[in-house]
Amino acid sequence: MKIEIRGVLKSYRSIRALDHVSLVAESGQIISLLGPNGAGKTTLIRCLAGIARPDKGGVYYDEQEFHRDRMDLRRRLHLLPDFPCLFWDQSVLRNITIILHLFDADGDGAKDRVVELLRDFDLLPLALRPINSLSRGQAYKAGLVAMIAADRELWLLDEPFASGMDPHGIDAFKRHARNAASRGKTIIYSTQILDVAERFSDRVCVIHKGEIRAYDTLHRLREQAEDKNNVLEEMFRQLRESDQ
């Protein structure tokens, strides 16, 4: 799925959350959105998911303009916010089932996929427990398992590495995301953790005050940087200095 953002402008009252943002992402990539708090990362994810509607510009999937009525396009992507929208009184399995039904992903192989994912994320013993009896990290994992099981073309994740998941869960997520990218899926996630972005992304998109300050592969960014070992840290330091 080719993703194209063309001159998206989005304001919340007097705050310009996204200022004529444009970028293109080919399928099969893991893209990390980086930026200080309030930079516009979450707004960008919301625009991609159709929750926020751009004031100007547009989002295009495979050259087709995406808006909230394009359910065919909407069902090709899956959004996982920092606090997943789940039914808290229902079991992990029931939540996964409802999501699979919604995305029409309950066909052949669904049960094997679900068992494997639950095992991978250490959720198998908790599969029949209501979500509200789980910890935040476990609840997030339940949303993540549903997302991976539904296996859409575009995964949108808001701060997955600040979700309370344990190291094993994070590792499992990275593994599945890598696997999905190799199968042509696109994964876009936001994060504040520079180390993670350096190691776990094909492309890095640095947003600051609603503008894209850098969007390239880490390799290319490293070539341009003075401190080759701390590319992103140096970039953030420069952004801060430019503000002052």
């Binding site: 705050i15 929750i51 509607r53 029931r94 409802i98 919604l102 679900v114 427990r129 509200n132």
Partner: protein
């Protein structure tokens, strides 16, 4: 009760301002994010203006009709709207206020938090007392009350105010929440219609109010407190004092209602450590912590998943014919939506069973109380009809979990927006969900209409027709309520722009049209014109939905809203 130090807050603010002023960079940033203009605290003035407007309306009602009873009926209807607001407010303050969540994190007992929230509720409710002061003063002035009669007015204000507060506590405790918001919005809309369209519908509304004033004063629980007000004009109507008997019960019950509301205010951590497993295909009770939870081992769970039972649709058994009919009518996509909207299963029959039991109890009470007093009979009918109406509208307008919002990065996002679910498919499901309930809805209101006609000594067939038309309007309100539900999860009208203005104007015009046509359809005495007007109301309701659908698809608003205090 003092939960914070205002001095500390002032000092902190001053320090923050000083720090911002000292740095050009911070000053720039502060200017950039200064979103909210300082708002004048004009709400008090607005509220007082509304009170004066109410006094003016009551004055005019008596001036136009020449009857104190009619003016009191008008106040009773206003108090009904106020009651609905009070119930919603009480619910919000006690169970869903963001303040409460914050307070619970502090080292305070639940009792302290409850009292703090209740105090805010009572303070807010004082506006209602101001309304009563203005309205009753207007009546006293018009009726040339003597000084002794003027001195009685504070008593009526106190009784009426406590009656509303007592009823609000009772309803918040015993009845579902949603209908009260709907009724209050409906009554306000009706008030707006009457005010702006007074030259057109005013005379008809006044005639209706005048013709039914006595019944309204004795049927509406909110009117009971003011029914004896007539004694000040006509002292020989001593039996009006009986209306204070149920009021005394309501006020006497207030303390125990508040105690029970307090008991319900249990702060719960999100985590329930000892929950039982929810095995697909088996009954389970959601939520409660059990001492011996049923928890299966990984092998058993794996076996259950491998069996594929969890993927079965429906996820819960459909025991009754109503649920089965609905399920058979749904297409595969709508079945997936049904699972999403009602994850705990479809429970239509159980709801309607409760409604019919309530109706039966009402009829029995009406029959029994009729043996003693017609006033008690009408009061029972009013209360029963009110409860049945609320339950029926709650069942017809049940949105399940669709519009439940999740707090996501500082904004509220409705559940449906997080997944690939569209406006039309959801609306289609809700329509089918309401349609299967039509026979039961008509049944309830036709019976209720017949009983009401019998009590009011009107031709029974008129009551049956009235009940049928009421059922039709409740069904039509489904179209309107779904729009409000969609709108509640968006910022469609929060920004000042042309599309928002056009949307609001369209909705107001069509909403007024529905209320006007609906009211006319119910009360116009000629059969054929009344049915034509009623049909017009049904079409208007559909138009309301259709117009919003156009805006939903094409307007520039987000499927999220800023959390409100």
């Amino acid at each position: 009760m003092k939960l914070h130090s205002s001095q500390f807050e002032k000092d902190l603010k001053r320090l923050v301002k000083q720090t911002i002023r000292s740095s050009p960079e911070l000053k720039r940033e502060h200017r950039r994010v200064k979103r909210y203009r300082k708002q004048l605290n004009s709400i008090w003035l607005w509220r007082l203006a509304i009170s004066l407007l109410l006094g003016f309306c009551v004055w005019n009602i008596q001036l136009s009709t020449g009857h104190l009873t009619t003016a009191l009926a008008g106040i009773g209807i206003f108090l009904l709207a106020a009651l609905c607001f009070r119930i919603s407010s009480l619910w919000t303050k006690l169970y869903s206020s963001t303040d409460q969540f914050v307070l619970m994190q502090l080292p305070l007992t639940t009792g302290t938090v409850f009292r703090w929230q209740l105090k805010k509720y009572f303070l807010e409710s004082l506006f209602l007392a101001v309304d009563l002061v203005v309205m009753l003063a207007a009546l006293a002035w018009q009726n040339d009350f003597t000084i002794w009669k003027w001195l009685c007015i504070p008593l009526f204000i106190a009784v009426a105010w406590f009656n509303v507060i007592g009823l609000a506590a009772f309803c918040a405790l015993r009845l579902p929440r949603t209908p009260f918001q709907i009724i209050s919005v409906g009554l306000i809309a009706m008030g707006v219609v009457l005010f702006f369209g007074r030259s057109v519908v005013g005379p008809l509304a006044l005639r209706l109010l005048d013709g039914n004033a006595w019944e309204i004063n004795h049927l509406l629980p909110t009117s009971w407190a003011l029914a004896p007000f007539e004694l000040l004009n006509e002292p020989h109507h001593w039996w009006e004092l009986f209306a204070w008997l149920p009021v005394a019960f309501v006020i006497g019950n207030l303390k125990s209602c508040l105690r029970l509301l307090r008991e319900r205010m249990i702060y719960q951590e999100v985590m329930l450590p000892m929950a039982s497993d929810q095995v697909p295909g088996e009954e389970f009770e959601s939520g409660p912590i059990t001492e011996t939870p049923k928890q299966l081992g990984p092998t058993e769970i794996e076996g259950i998943i491998e069996s594929g039972l969890f993927l079965k649709k429906p996820g819960h058994p459909l025991r009754w014919i109503l649920e089965q009919k609905l399920w058979n009518w749904l297409n595969p996509r709508e079945r997936a939506l049904a699972e999403f909207i009602h994850p705990s299963g479809l429970f239509l029959s159980a709801t309607w069973k409760r409604i019919y039991i309530t109706l039966l109890i009402t009829i029995l009470l009406v029959g029994l109380t009729g043996l003693f007093s017609s006033l008690m009979q009408l009061s029972s009918l009013g209360l029963g009809a009110f409860i049945v109406f609320c339950m029926a509208i709650a069942s017809i307008a049940n949105h399940g979990r669709t519009f439940t919002t999740s707090w996501v990065s500082g904004v509220n996002v409705p559940m449906y927006a997080s997944y690939g679910i569209g406006f039309s498919e959801l609306a289609r499901f809700f329509f089918k969900y309401a349609v299967v309930q039509i026979p039961l809805l008509i049944g309830v209101f036709v019976i209720l209409g017949g009983v009401s006609a019998w009590c009011l000594k009107q031709p029974v067939e008129l009551g049956l027709i009235f009940g049928f038309k009421t059922a039709g309007l409740i069904f039509a309100s489904r179209f309107i309520l779904v729009v409000f539900a969609f709108s509640s999860g968006t910022n469609d009208t929060t920004q000042f722009r042309l599309s928002a203005i056009v949307l609001v104007m369209s909705i107001v015009v069509l909403g007024i049209g529905f209320l006007g046509l609906g009211a006319a359809g119910l009360f116009v005495p000629m059969l054929m014109p009344s049915f034509l007007l009623w049909g017009g109301a049904l079409i208007d309701a559909w138009m309301f939905f259709w117009v919003y659908g156009l805006f939903y698809r094409h307007c520039r608003f987000d499927l999220m809203s800023i959390p409100k205090q």
